[in-house]
Symmetry: C2
Subunit: 332 residues, 2 copies
């Protein structure tokens, strides 16, 4: 087993976010579940919802992509695997992820559908409600995997969202095999409770098979996954299945459970929650960056909390400050 040359390689949806301010009445009228991610299955459905949306701003997104963008912004060496189309939004996604120094070599896909977009309605409380048209993203084939990249990364990071479409699901299973054969760790984020309602069985099986080294979840996700409304019971049950369990708890901070011990970090104080888009993604970024730097669990959690606080203080899920300097100042 050679030394890894990358800290983290992620496989995820390659999405451009469209963020717009909204209110609870609109969410209700459109039958959206606040805070969730719903899939839109046709371009027509996406266009119809976009037509009802207020003026927006566009920013590269995608859960796992946000995470590696955060790690790279802190100085980590990362790769990303995800499918865009050969169109303007695909160019934007590719530009933004490469501009932070990430290796992104997945070739753009010709023809329809377009690059994935996520219509994000941000309410005055800062909550984000997402409607995703997966477009090209759902056609990531196993053949697109850069096997050397995966084998040379200390951690392979996978997002649950991408478990929905069949081709990427197969690609992620193959990627897990590549990573484990190379002696690397596999990290997984549960993404969303609706996602768990569709694929919880698969996710539990991955854990039972010992294929997940680090599992990321929030409170709603971990209880959904372990099929209990008792948070402590869910954490205990999940922690028995993975070497490292990280659970974010919004304003209550986050915990990590490893080796029978639970470590807690409080949430970072912030002035105002503007937009929670990417909070979990950036928490994972901070935590994984800390782990890659050999920091202890408490320090890694703190790094996660600092990154999450930065991202929810503005619109969009990519950092708007020097994340490396920010984290260093908070750990000093």
């Amino acid at each position: 087993m050679t030394e890894p040359t990358y800290d983290v390689v992620a496989i995820g949806n390659a999405i451009v976010d469209v963020l717009s301010q909204s209110d609870d009445a609109f969410l209700a009228s459109a039958a959206m579940t606040k805070g969730s991610m719903q899939l839109m299955f046709s371009p027509e459905e996406a266009d119809a919802l976009y037509a009802k949306m207020g003026p927006g701003i566009e920013a590269s997104g995608g859960s796992a992509a946000n995470t590696v963008a955060g790690i790279a912004a802190m100085g980590g060496k990362c790769g990303f695997i995800g499918q865009v189309a050969n169109d303007e939004l695909g160019d934007i996604f590719a530009h933004d992820i490469r501009a932070v120094g990430i290796d992104f070599t997945t070739a753009a896909r010709e023809g329809d559908p377009t690059t994935a977009r996520c219509l994000i309605f941000v309410t005055p409380d800062g909550q984000r409600t997402m409607n995703t048209f997966l477009g090209a993203s759902q056609f990531l084939p196993e053949a697109a995997l850069d096997r050397d990249l995966i084998a040379n990364a200390a951690i392979l990071y996978l997002e649950g969202y991408l478990w929905d479409p069949e081709e990427p699901r197969q690609a992620m299973r193959a990627a897990i095999d590549i990573a484990r054969a190379a002696g690397r760790k596999v990290a997984f984020t549960l993404s969303d409770t609706f996602c768990i309602s569709r694929h919880g069985g698969d996710f539990r099986q991955l854990m039972a098979d010992g294929l997940i080294d680090i599992m990321f979840a929030n409170e709603a996700e971990i209880t959904a996954l372990m099929e209990t409304s008792d948070f402590d019971a869910a954490v205990a049950a999940a922690a028995a299945e993975v070497p490292m369990l990280v659970v974010t708890r919004s304003e209550h901070g986050a915990i990590a459970v490893t080796g029978g011990e639970t470590v807690h970090v409080p949430a970072e104080p912030i002035e105002r929650v503007v937009d929670t888009t990417g909070a979990g993604d950036l928490f994972a970024a901070g935590f994984l960056r800390g782990q890659a730097q050999g920091k202890d669990v408490a320090a890694s959690l703190k790094m996660g909390a600092v990154c999450a606080a930065e991202i929810i203080s503005h619109y969009g899920a990519r950092a708007q400050v020097d994340l490396k300097a920010l984290v260093e100042s908070k750990l000093a």
Copy 2:
């Protein structure tokens, strides 16, 4: 002469902005003049500069488009005429301007070039330095003018930037004729000193011919236009040529000169200048909205100052708050 059904109809570049954080060293290395707007003449030139740019966020822009978006956000009835291509950025531009209730009926142009984009480098002092690929925007033909729309708007608002390409310049000359024949006012913004260096003669002739009712400029633009380094002399000379002259002076506020009188408004206090993109555009929005509502010059200037202060407190040139409520609270 019938009562106008629109407050303002604008003709301008239909641009999507790409905003990224930068620093003075980058501007120097790329030989950019800080605070200016430079044109990029080929897609290759635009792609090459984009490749050097950091991660960005995209937001609809275009100087006159930003102005009518601001007026509409305050409850004004507006139209916009500008050329996009039939592509994803064109869809974004059209969506954002319609989403604030503006009539935008210019048909998207098929084929190359793409919709205009403006690469905006924002330095830590909040200054913005722009590089624009005009793309489809420079092919706005006179035939695309909605003559009824123009004839039914109290004010026709034109941006100097669009004077560069030939077809839109002819279209704007025709639009001035339509507006004046219908007894409407014509407002014009000088846009940029480089723009004046190319077309100052045309702009002075428009004024001398009595075709401009309201002229917007900043300090650098008014001195460049009147070919003197003496600000007071420039203002006096320009004010002799137009019924209303509005000059913004950054942190020193703004003045309006009309009927031999000069009215001054101080700049609104703000916590931190994040990004000055759109400051002049939104000042014009506030001022024109005030005039449309029959407010006096001082109140109109105040509205301009409030709108400008909002826009420079965040990235992008479209309002992120309820501009109508904000202005009402500041005038109360």
